[in-house]
Structure formats: C-alpha cells, structure tokens
Assembly symmetry: C2
Homo-oligomer: 135 residues x 2
DNA sequence: GCTTGACTTAGAGTTAACTGTAAGTCGTAC
DNA sequence: GTACGACTTACAGTTAACTCTAAGTCAAGC
C-alpha cells in the first residue's frame, strides 16, 4: 500500500506551510516530487523521509544552498555516497559545536539568573542592590 | 584603575565588527555608552559585561527587539528587577527547548550517518546499496 | 598647517529565508 | 454546466540582522 500526500497534507505533517514547500521545491531541495495529471505535487513516504532530512539540516543551521548540494548529490546517484556521508559528518561536528555554544550561553544565563535572584530578594527586603559587575 | 575601550577594541573583544556595535547602539541595546569630547564612544568594563549579556541573548535566538526591552528595563532602574528576572527565566526555558531540539536532530543525523556508513561500505564492495527508507 | 587614521552620522544596500498576491487550471458536487 | 475548493505559476513584498558607503570631524605627528 502506497501512501501519498497532497502539498497541504505534506506541509501539515512537516509543520510547514505550503508556501515554504513550494519554495523548497523551487530551490531544488525536493528532487523527485511527482505530479498528478493536473500538475499537482504528490508526496510519497520516501519524499517525506527526504524532507525530514532537509528539515533536520535546516533546523540545525545549514543554509539552503548547502542542502541543495546534498539533494543534488542524491540525484546524481551512488557515486556521490561518500560525498554525502562526508557532508553529514562535517555537519555533525557543526551541530556538536552548537551544543557546546548553547551550553556555554546557558552557563552565563544561569550566572545572571543567580544575580537577579539575589538582587530581587534584596530589592524586596529594602536592602541595597548588589552591583552586577561584582558577581 | 578604570579600563576603557574604543569601539574597535570593544568589537575585537566581543568578536564583532564596529558596524554591528554601532547598529546595536542605534537600536538601543547598549544604553549608557559615554563619549569622549570628540564624540567617540567609550566602552567600560561594565559596558562590556552588559554587552556580553546582549550577545548571549542574541546567540541564543532572542530577537533584537526583545533584547531592547531588557536594556530599557535596565535603564528604568531597580523597580524592573523582577521583570528582567522573569524575562531571563522564560528565555532559559527557551534555550533548554533548543537543546532538546538540537539533541533530537542529532539523533536523526546519527541515524542517517549510520545508513551512509553502511551504504558506503556496500558501494565500495560492489554490493547492492540498501534503500534509505528501510533503515 | 597639513596629512593621516580613527572615529562620527545618515541613510542606502544586502542577504537569507520565507511569505503573500494575482491570475489561472482542474476535478468533483450539485 | 457551473460553482467551489485545492491546486498551479510567476513574481513581488517582507523581515531581521546586519553591512556598507559617503561625507564629515577631530587629535596627533611631521
């Protein structure tokens, strides 16, 4: 049993709007989308699987142009398997870097939250507010 | 001993360019920057401390307009301490959500890397390439 | 006193990633 | 057979966050 989706259904499944899907199609991010006789796009499970990778790459900060390189390689066939593998490996490094940066920023945020916690208590008690630079 | 920085020095310290610092100033993200007689901006340690918070918020996805709200509150004085505290608390939730999303995307990426690892081996050995949707 | 370099402003231009509009086509329900 | 809703395209508009240009000011060194 082959399940197929209209652009509206595919967009709903991917938490996108149809404008965005058409934009991705125009930019070449969705290679093999077939059409009905009337010209309407038909999304298969395989298309949605590919789309989930596209969304994963996009949500982790890869620019559209690079994602297009990936789908271009996918279209070119098996001799680009290594290139695609390398691209994902490099991107994983990038994502791990993002995790580290996020953790670092979380530390600073926690530090500032600590300061505000104390400052709010002091304020409520009518005591002098600590200076932020001493903390 | 009070250390002061020119806009170029401040930019270097913060890994930004001067254009960006002037843009932030124009948008009201850097409240109390004083000036020399000639009108040049002077950044103190306290200014850089505030700037590091601005950068932290920006790097964790807070839009400029919201950051401006934060610095506006800072300018208004101690009666906004709770508002600022609440804003940072809410933003921390946001950052934790980002961490979760990043982890989720990393899982999908690892899954795909696994597929490509196997697919590349099969390709190199002249064996049939597994289909991506079966994995 | 003139050049040089670092700064200033106002405002225009750029980029990425959408987001929306207008005009038109197609297939089904009445 | 026509109205409706879901789709199509081409293309224009939007948004956020810069990024740059042009014209000008100022202080220090020769």
């Amino acid at each position: 049993m082959i399940v197929e989706y209209s652009i509206t259904q595919a967009a709903k499944k991917m938490q996108l709007i149809t404008y965005t899907l058409r934009y991705y199609d125009r930019e070449g991010l969705l290679p093999s989308i077939s059409r009905t006789k009337a010209g309407n796009r038909v999304f298969t499970e395989a298309d949605l699987d590919m789309l989930s990778v596209v969304c994963c790459l996009k949500n982790t900060g890869m620019p559209i142009k690079e994602i297009k390189q990936f789908t271009d390689w996918q279209n070119e066939g098996d001799h680009t398997l290594h290139a695609r593998h390398n691209m994902l490996l490099k991107h994983k490094e990038d994502v791990l870097k993002q995790m580290e940066d996020l953790k670092e920023n979380l530390r600073l945020l926690d530090h500032k939250l600590d300061y505000y916690h104390n400052a709010c208590h002091a304020y409520d008690a009518g005591l002098p507010i600590p200076s932020c630079c001493e903390t």
